[in-house]
Amino acid sequence: MEKLFCSDTGPSGGKSERVMSPVLVLTGTSAALNELIDEKRDACGMRKLGCEEEKPRIVDAEPKENQYSELIIPHREAVEIIKVTLKCSRAVGLEGKHAVLKGSRTAWEMLSDEQNLKLIRTGSEDFDGILGGGIHCGQVTEMGGVPGIGKTQLGIQLAVNVQIPVSYGGLGAKAIYIDTEGSFMPERAYQIAEACIMDTWENLGFSRKEIEDCQERMQPDHFLANILYFRICSYTEQIAVINYLDKFLEEHKDVKIVIIDSISFHFRQDFKEMVQRTIVLNEMSRQLMKLAERFAVAVLLLNHVTAKHTEGSFQLTLALELVCFPSPKDTKLYGEAAI
């Protein structure tokens, strides 16, 4: 048996006009989004599939208006319905193949998903402006800069900011900090957490009761404890931890940012086979992109810069430029010191 979801819109036009739009094979979306989709669909001249003729098969005895009901039909029949649907969809100029391909989504869905994705603010308005509002969940962001420019500071800041409670406009989530260089300093994290708590309370008016409610959560120690810290001492450990993240994130759904400080340190030693290094790094970047998408976490990679001699002058460029994150949505930023 196949489970097929369709929507029952109640009274509408004759069945000959009815088209089951694969766009509607959506479950669990918000009411607001449904309304928006309905509007868009109507504008295209499409209608939802009514279930009148299948009524005897509907498990839900009384399909309520504007609610999804579950239709249980044999696989063969489901395929038939989809075939008819596809034909009809084409008639109105819309390819509906994605409904057959499991797991695929329309660009429209992706856009609305992206708009629903959370942003982690850096705390600096200008910086947020460059990043399009902040660090995006579900994406990989790479940042490079000379030593001392503040890469680690930004990493710690984001590990703290992700924890701002939802009621204060944050995500109320946890952070994973993968430290490959040993530069994560608890005392600095404590200072940043303290400042973050002060800012949060200052910027948003609060009542005495609210303070009491949040007293326990809004403590620097509590912020520190929600940074899950991994210290890495070799590239094999780094690969092992990134492999393990899949399982770890499955068990810790409240993690919304993974910070790797830095991605390149252990890979800049002498590798016997440079080709092998490239393969390992490409695999790692692929895994990180997959994690970002699957768990809707932000992945922040901090990277070194190296000097390259090009056209008679030295230019800064990201270390291990071999590994590129080819997807256009992945952001690369260069930090440059004011000299």
């Binding site: 040993g182 001492c233 931890v241 002058s313």
Partner: protein, 283 residues
């Protein structure tokens, strides 16, 4: 063994004293453990002096603010300044807990560090004093000479740094590495000036720490020691005039940049801040 995350609240926060309260305060308590600290400066800026003082501070008994710990001193620029170490130490400081070894090539250094691994894990489980400090004076001497292949050198630097950081973490060591400086030639070209992102100068010349951008990525904290430009620029303490020196914090993940003046006296290296805090000489 499963990989488990740690709670940052439980990470060690202890610091190693520099043997001077003013310098300690400037560095937020001292040199952190599990961390690689670089002291860069021209010859005679006071790098080795400061290293020796920190070694003695680690060896001093807990009753006098030390750690009662042993240290390893890897010297790449012989001779080891033994006389100076003796003149700095009071009678109580047990010099037999300072292990000195020299290394004259990068290969020798690698071999030595691998042996140190074994030594550290043995000492960790014995009742002897624990080794808590490793000094490499200087890193530049080893890596500035074999400059035949820049790519190879940079990967060697990263290998040494990774090894030092691993030991610092595993055995909770403080690691101090000294570095030379190179003169900066301002050719008026635009674009980023590699390495010299802060204008550092010593004895009136513009300089920057040696071994370039690659090595700068290898250390956690960079301190820059310099001598003042003019001979006349001296500080007057207790009726003695001394050359003014400066300790600059170039970068550190836990502290803002800044600088602190210091002087080198017979008794050691002392920060110059609030004059009342400078300990007067025993005699």
């Amino acid at each position: 063994m499963p990989i488990m995350p740690e709670n940052p609240v439980h990470l060690p926060v202890e610091k190693l004293s520099l043997g001077c309260p003013i310098l300690d305060r400037f560095l937020g308590g001292g040199i952190p453990f599990g961390f690689v600290t670089e002291l860069a400066g021209e010859a005679s800026a006071g790098k080795t002096q400061l290293c020796l003082q920190i070694v003695l501070s680690a060896a001093a008994p807990r009753s006098s603010g030390g750690l009662s710990a042993a240290s390893l001193f890897i010297s790449t620029e012989p001779p080891f300044p033994l006389r100076r170490l003796l003149s700095l130490s009071s009678d109580a400081a047990p010099l037999d807990h300072i292990f000195v070894r020299s290394a004259f090539s990068s290969k020798e250094l690698f071999d030595l560090l691998n042996h140190v691994d074994l030594l550290l894990s043995l000492v960790r489980h014995s009742s002897d004093r624990r080794i808590r400090l490793l000094v490499l004076d200087s890193a530049a001497a080893l890596f500035r000479t074999d400059a035949e292949d820049a790519v190879h050198r940079s990967s060697e630097l990263f290998a040494v740094a990774a090894k030092l950081k691993e030991q610092a973490r595993r055995f909770n060591l403080a690691v101090i590495v000294t570095n030379h400086v190179v003169d900066v030639v301002d050719d008026g070209s635009k674009g980023p000036r590699v390495g010299n992102y802060m204008n550092l100068s010593s004895s009136g010349r513009k300089v920057c720490p040696a071994m370039g951008l690659a090595w700068a990525n290898c250390v956690n904290m960079r301190l820059f020691l310099s001598r003042s430009a003019a001979e006349g620029n001296v500080v007057d303490i207790d009726g003695c005039t001394m050359l003014e020196r400066k300790l600059q914090l170039v970068f550190a993940p836990h502290l803002p940049g800044g600088s602190c003046k210091f002087v080198i006296r017979r008794e050691g290296v002392f920060g110059v801040g609030n004059q009342a805090l400078i300990p007067t000489s025993p005699q």
